[in-house]
């Protein structure tokens, strides 16, 4: 993917504003490959400028009420696919119950982008440098997909397949994400210059099973079992933090790209591991 010199125009397409979920599913069923969903548009419009996608139909789903909002559903917290990152970062339930998601959404991009960008788009875009998937993986969240043929649910980690690759089928819509609680002992931290994409990020959850996930280091977020085992075995202490930081640096495979070299990323991974563990211990 280049993201090189800017194109000033978009390919031609027909814009449709959907009001109901059923309408979207019908259109997806009929138009297949030719149709693309537009939520915040931050990703899709950029991709269309780069001619990475040229749909003939663009279906705007952000006005569909059922796809928005944050709710407690039994012991899970559900987040509608079209909820914006800004709405997530300002939500009290999220702030209190899922700190990792509060932090990931509140520090993404900048105020103008956060007000448009949705959690659904952030995950479906499937680029390596975004923040929400990293937290969602650490939180063991589920993604809910709907088509005219039925509903399915899978772990966000199984949904993301690679660079620009997901398990989303052509006729499917993401309706929401659910996070099982408790998740109060969770954290998200990243290293980025200003509002640029993260060079590396980390999300840790130690409520229940320990999960340690790194972002922006590989095409999709990666768990580090070696670090998880250290924390499972020894808890969080000065010595386990030192060990975890070293092990992370050694075992997390990091990519080279325009943002940073692999060696630099490994260095950052070590630092993020230590600082995130220290903070979560408090």
């Amino acid at each position: 993917m280049s993201f090189g010199s800017p194109y000033f125009t978009l390919p031609e397409f027909t814009y449709l504003r959907a009001r109901r979920i059923e309408e979207v599913l019908q259109l997806l069923e009929e138009k297949g490959e030719d149709a693309r969903l537009l939520a915040g548009g931050v990703g899709l419009i950029s991709f269309m400028k780069e001619r990475l996608v040229s749909p003939s139909i663009v279906i705007d789903i952000k006005g569909i009420e059922e796809l928005r909002g944050i709710k407690l559903e039994g012991s899970k917290i559900s987040i509608g696919a079209c909820t914006t990152l800004q709405e997530i970062s300002e939500n009290e339930l999220i702030r209190k119950e899922i700190p990792a998601l509060h932090q990931a959404s509140g520090e993404a991009a900048d105020i103008a982008i956060r007000g448009r960008a949705t959690i659904g788009g952030n995950v479906c875009e499937a680029i390596p440098w975004v923040d929400m998937p990293v937290a969602l993986l650490a939180l063991d969240a589920d993604i809910h997909l709907l088509s005219r043929r039925g509903e399915r649910m899978l772990k966000v980690g199984n949904f993301l397949k690679g660079m620009l690759e997901t398990d989303l089928r052509q006729n499917e819509l993401v309706t929401k994400f659910t996070v099982p609680t408790p998740k109060r002992r969770s954290i998200f931290r990243k290293y980025a210059k200003g509002s640029e994409f993260a060079i590396a990020s980390i999300s840790i959850c130690v409520d229940g099973e320990v999960r340690v996930v790194y972002g922006s280091v590989a095409p999709t977020p990666v768990r580090c079992k070696e670090v998880e085992q250290i924390i499972e075995r020894e808890g969080i202490s000065e010595s386990s933090i030192r060990k975890a930081s070293k092990v992370a640096r050694e075992s997390v495979e990091c990519m080279d790209d325009v943002l940073a070299s692999s060696a630099y990323r490994k260095h950052i991974v070590g630092i993020l591991t230590a600082s995130a563990l220290k903070e979560i211990q408090r």
């Binding site: 397409f13 027909t14 504003r17 548009g41 950029s46 400028k49 663009v58 105020i111 448009r116």
Partner: protein, 153 residues
């Protein structure tokens, strides 16, 4: 072509748009709203920022058709006649103009920060400016202008 009807700085605009037109192009090239600057075209520099129903958006990442029925505010819309808005006054008072190219975007974003009450401290307010990349000669004066309104001085 689609019919499009929306407000720019409180004035109803009725026009035709193609589905693939960017809000940036419509405002700047066709409606002549020149405070909206075109620079990076990819949502990175922030200079095409406008307020969309009162909230900042980067107009190079918004379709013109998405503005149907909405209220767009640009730097031209902040003053009431000859009376400058508080943030415009503060920019003048502190000499916060930089070279001028990014000024409309900074003024609008600072206006939003003040009006929305989203920032309690100067640090929080400055973080909300991080989508605007310009940091030339008078960035410190922008900080001062913004801070002067935060503390209600």
């Amino acid at each position: 072509m689609k019919k499009l009807s929306f407000n720019v700085n409180g004035i109803r605009r009725n026009t035709l748009t193609k589905d693939n037109e960017l809000l940036l192009d419509l405002l700047r090239e066709r409606l002549g709203v020149k405070s909206v600057k075109a620079a990076c075209w990819r949502g990175e520099c922030g200079l095409c920022t406008v307020l969309f129903d009162g909230k900042p958006v980067k107009s190079c990442l918004v379709l013109a058709v998405e503005a149907e029925g909405r209220e767009i505010t640009t730097a031209e819309g902040l003053a009431e006649g000859e009376r400058l808005s508080d943030i415009q006054d503060a920019f003048v008072k502190y000499g916060a103009s930089q070279c001028g190219f990014c000024t409309p975007a900074f003024v609008l974003t600072c206006h939003y920060i003040i009006e929305s009450g989203k920032a309690k401290t100067e640090k929080e307010a400055l973080e909300l400016l991080n989508g605007l990349i310009c940091r030339c000669g008078t960035y410190n004066q922008i900080r001062e202008a913004l801070a002067s309104l935060l503390s209600g001085k």
